[in-house]
């Protein structure tokens, strides 16, 4: 039995609608368009999909972190900067993650 303001039925309705909607979003181009060739301008735009989405997802989380109630936090800001720079220099995702986490925990420890 869940303890939210919603009934179990409503929670399942949310889960199923989200699941179906998300699936349709993912299936959209793969399912409908298939192997028909894409126009050149579309391909040019799509080359920048990831680099357009990921910074936009992370920027607000860095500047207004949930954990601090949206207050700018020096530890998280430093960790974000180090992660980005380490990724640029090493071209390694794991290296960047490790550098970022070390900075985060180091700063939290030092500032505590």
């Amino acid at each position: 039995m869940n303890q939210t303001q919603f009934s179990d039925l409503t929670i399942w309705m949310i889960i199923l609608t989200l699941g179906a909607g998300t699936y349709l979003i993912r299936w959209s181009f793969l399912g409908v368009i298939g192997s028909r060739p894409m126009p050149a301008w579309a391909m040019r735009l799509l080359r920048y999909t990831a680099v357009a989405v990921l910074p936009a997802l992370s920027a607000p989380l860095v500047v207004w972190p949930n954990a601090t109630g949206g207050e700018l936090d020096p530890a998280r800001l430093a960790a974000a900067a180090v992660t980005l720079v380490a990724g640029l220099l090493t071209r390694s995702v794991l290296g960047a993650i490790v550098a970022g986490l070390v900075t985060l925990y180091g700063m939290i420890y030092l500032l505590a």
Binding site: T4, I15, S28, V51, A52, S92, L94
Partner: protein, 260 residues
């Protein structure tokens, strides 16, 4: 490689040793290779999944519903959005619309995979769609772009290897997180696992001035439009950044053509 094969070829057509190794792999080897390459992502995905279980438990969701979220929605950022809004007592419709908006970026992933695996059969494409998350997309598209000569069966095997390695632990981690519950101290700062994963993926992507310009516009626009309801700022920022990238690419090509 015998030199005569390359005699007439453009230098950019020549394969590096790493590319030759990638092409020589059987689909089974591609599957396993992708699983191995997923390990760095797991280091961040697992705590993220744990955290989802923890916050879902705190919001009052029961265990079967947590599994339902992780198996049927299978999208970290939108699962967190939904749980956040449920604990904020938002109306069900607001929960659904906001969490779906967070996932709209996946239509772009879907579109950008078409040139690589659009030739697969309907059932395979349906399965790829189910398993298309940030991490499987990021890893696969990087592999396809680095090795454009991979065959379709190799590309699919690689994708499914990454999907098995990352999606199954996601579900397991959310169950474990739910069970561990409040035993995880907030000092661990798991909240920041998400931005760190995303930021770590961005650095290696900044290969050209066009990529850098797109990333800068993406950041600025996301901050400027952050007053919009959850997820919608992203829907403004991402297309702006894509247009910027494409525009800078056209400018660069024109300059190159003028010089030549």
């Amino acid at each position: 490689m015998p030199p005569d094969l390359n005699a007439a070829a453009d230098p950019s057509d020549r394969l590096t040793p790493a590319q030759q190794r990638a092409l020589a792999r059987t689909p089974r080897e591609c599957f396993l290779h992708a699983m191995v390459q997923s390990v760095p992502f797991l280091l961040v995905l697992m705590p993220f999944g744990l955290l989802f279980g923890v916050v879902a438990g705190e919001a009052g969701i029961d265990l079967v519903q947590v599994v339902g979220f992780s198996m049927l929605v299978l999208a970290g950022a939108s699962q967190f959005t939904a749980i956040q809004l449920i604990s904020d007592h938002a109306p069900a419709l607001v929960v659904i619309v906001s969490a779906l908006a967070v996932n709209l970026r996946m239509a772009m992933y879907s579109a950008s995979l078409v040139p690589w695996i659009g030739a697969a059969n309907g059932r395979q494409r349906a399965l790829v769609a189910y398993l298309l998350v940030d991490q499987t997309y990021a890893l696969s598209i990087e592999q396809y772009e680095r090795n454009p000569k991979l065959r379709l069966d190799q590309r699919l095997a690689y994708f499914f290897g990454a999907a098995l390695a990352m999606c199954a632990p996601w579900v397991v981690a959310s169950v474990v997180g739910y069970t561990l519950g409040k035993a995880i101290p907030p000092e661990l700062a798991l909240d920041f696992a998400v931005p760190i994963t995303f930021l770590a993926m961005i650095g290696p992507m900044l290969r050209t001035p066009a990529h850098v310009a797109a990333a800068l516009v993406s950041i600025i626009a996301a901050l400027v439009f952050s007053f919009l309801p959850s997820g919608l700022g992203l829907l403004v920022a991402a297309p702006l950044a894509m247009l910027t990238g494409a525009w800078v690419e056209v400018l660069t090509e024109r300059r190159k053509a003028a010089r030549a």
